[in-house]
Symmetry: C2
Subunit: 345 residues, 2 copies
């Protein structure tokens, strides 16, 4: 199975995940309600850390739960963990192997916190250490660059958010995600053409905000892993607080801008970048107006609810990175310097 | 006053800050103890957000307080703030002007949380909105790139951490910081020479871990602001989870590696980067062994305690960015596309 195959499995993986794991998510929700949870303490690395950004927004906005991202070194190196008594310790890891993430969970347990793992390996050390496990059920992921396990992690978090909110509309939205993912997979031919415009680039920035801040980080990470380009992710606001200085004519800027609450901020930035800086803009959006600022517009499906849009908008980004890696003659299955499981302490 | 003048004022600014603000910090500490604070909810942007990373490590490791970084868009755009009742809402801003940061503080107050601002402008909207204010007293900062206000923010956070811990050794360490800063300011001539080795670079990564994770981010930000280069910050662990793929022979990697708990992890990475990848390493450290892997070693003072090292190690990094900007003939006082106060919502 190739990386491309794994990308194309995503609609089916999410469909299955909702069907088989939803009732288990409802049980976990009951348990969360019984506890006096003041905040979520989240431990993850790499791609899973980007899934953590989505957790922060969806549980923050829809469930009013603050999310603190763990610094694993406090546990594994400094041995001075913070007080976690009133937290839900949530870990995210495809392999469930990384010792530093396991250590955060074990410390949470020692302190009496509730622990929940989102992982693709329900028999991993991380799963064994956790009170509760959501099996993201992405199936075996052979390619080093994570794709389907990422969208399955996001979807699991979205299920948790919908379940905690008891909001029927959110549950309805979840059911529509696999179809939206199928739709963006049909963009492959267009994306393969657009990639040619960026064949020579050496660096780029990726901009998203709100829910899609996660998408910006994950797109940038895939770019680094698969094409070895320097790619940096920003929120549109942070970008204005300094890094905008580095852009100049022709600088490649990728923007994730579906309809939603943060769309006006991105529209404003796109206009400025196009008119004042004359950068080379690639934009993912369902909105005509912002797509006009893009030399390389990629149209997202109409009617995509903002809160689940990150699960859909990352897919054309994955296709973009795959196409660019192929065009450049790189090994898409085993990028240099990386292994599927990274053990850090 | 030039940017260089502001960099060279730092030892004096910190000396004054400790003298005049320490007793006020003790009062704020008393107030924090009276409250049932479960975690800190931190709001900041740009350089101040990097100071927030230091807050996360020093208050986490020395005071066992978890720190959650706010996503301002949840307040200002989504209007769905998380529950902040049991938090200390801590804001950091040089100017105290940014509306989105003020909005986080106002929401915290509405929910009954204690609010504390670290700012250089004690009459700013942010200070007015906050219950308590630590005036970081950096004096007027004219250069767009923040330097002395950053080290003053870090030092204020270190004072708060020492005060909360009631640890005499920590207070003693604080008193030594201005002298350490004076020592690294004498590295200017060396740094001006080293910069020539990096004259042609177009991109780089900056690596730190633990306390100096903040230094990596702040160094990368200064590089972007002042030299318009693409510079990305990583922890040594996150770097191994993907981005290491983009390095190749001669790729510039800057590393902040003073003595301390995380030093062995950085030593291991430096060895790998030098031997396997043959990257171009610039290392800041007081340790002979790691400096041997560096084509451009910059020696930090001996005996620098790890927890305050970020206040010292950023100074040669500031000098590096200033020197590179000058060498490239750029405007160091007013970088293109930036203004001193950035108003984002």
């Amino acid at each position: 199975m190739s990386l491309r195959d794994e990308i194309f499995q995503q609609a089916e993986v999410l469909q299955e995940l909702l069907k088989t794991e939803w009732s288990h998510v409802l049980e976990i929700t009951d348990e969360i309600r019984k506890r006096e949870i003041k905040y979520i303490f989240l431990a993850a690395r790499g791609t899973s850390d980007n899934a953590g950004l989505y957790v922060k927004y969806t549980l923050g906005i829809n469930n009013a739960i603050p999310v603190a991202l763990a610094a694993p070194s406090m546990f594994s190196i400094y041995h001075s963990p913070p007080n976690l008594k009133n937290s839900l310790v949530l870990s995210i890891s495809q392999s469930g192997q990384s010792p530093d993430i396991v250590e955060v969970v074990e410390e949470g347990k020692r302190q009496g916190a509730m622990t929940l793992a989102l992982t693709n390996k329900p028999d991993s050390p991380l799963a064994v250490a956790s009170d509760h496990v959501i099996n993201v059920q992405a199936g075996e992921e052979k390619a080093v660059a994570a794709t389907k396990s990422y969208t399955a992690q996001l979807f699991s978090a979205a299920m948790l958010s919908a379940s905690l909110s008891e909001n029927e509309v959110m549950y309805h939205d979840l059911q529509r995600v696999p179809e939206f993912v199928s739709q963006v997979l049909t963009l492959e031919t267009l994306v393969n053409q657009i990639v040619e415009l960026f064949y020579y680039m050496e660096q780029c920035v990726v901009i998203g905000r709100g829910y899609n801040y996660a998408t910006a980080f994950e797109w940038a990470l895939k770019m680094k892993e698969m094409t070895y380009l320097v790619a940096e992710a920003y929120s549109s606001a942070d970008f204005l607080h300094g890094p905008i200085a580095m852009t100049e004519m022709g600088f490649p800027v990728f923007m994730v801008a579906p309809s939603g609450q943060v769309y006006p901020a991105l529209l404003h930035l796109a206009k400025r970048l196009q008119e004042e800086k004359k950068v080379n803009l690639l934009i993912l959006s369902d909105q005509d107006k912002i797509l006009e600022y893009s030399a390389a517009p990629v149209r997202l499906p109409a009617g995509l609810p903002e809160w689940i849009s990150p699960i859909v908008s990352i897919v054309p980004a994955q296709l973009f990175c795959l196409a660019l890696a192929k065009l450049r003659g790189l090994d898409t299955e085993n990028p240099r310097g990386l292994s599927k499981v990274t053990l850090t302490t």
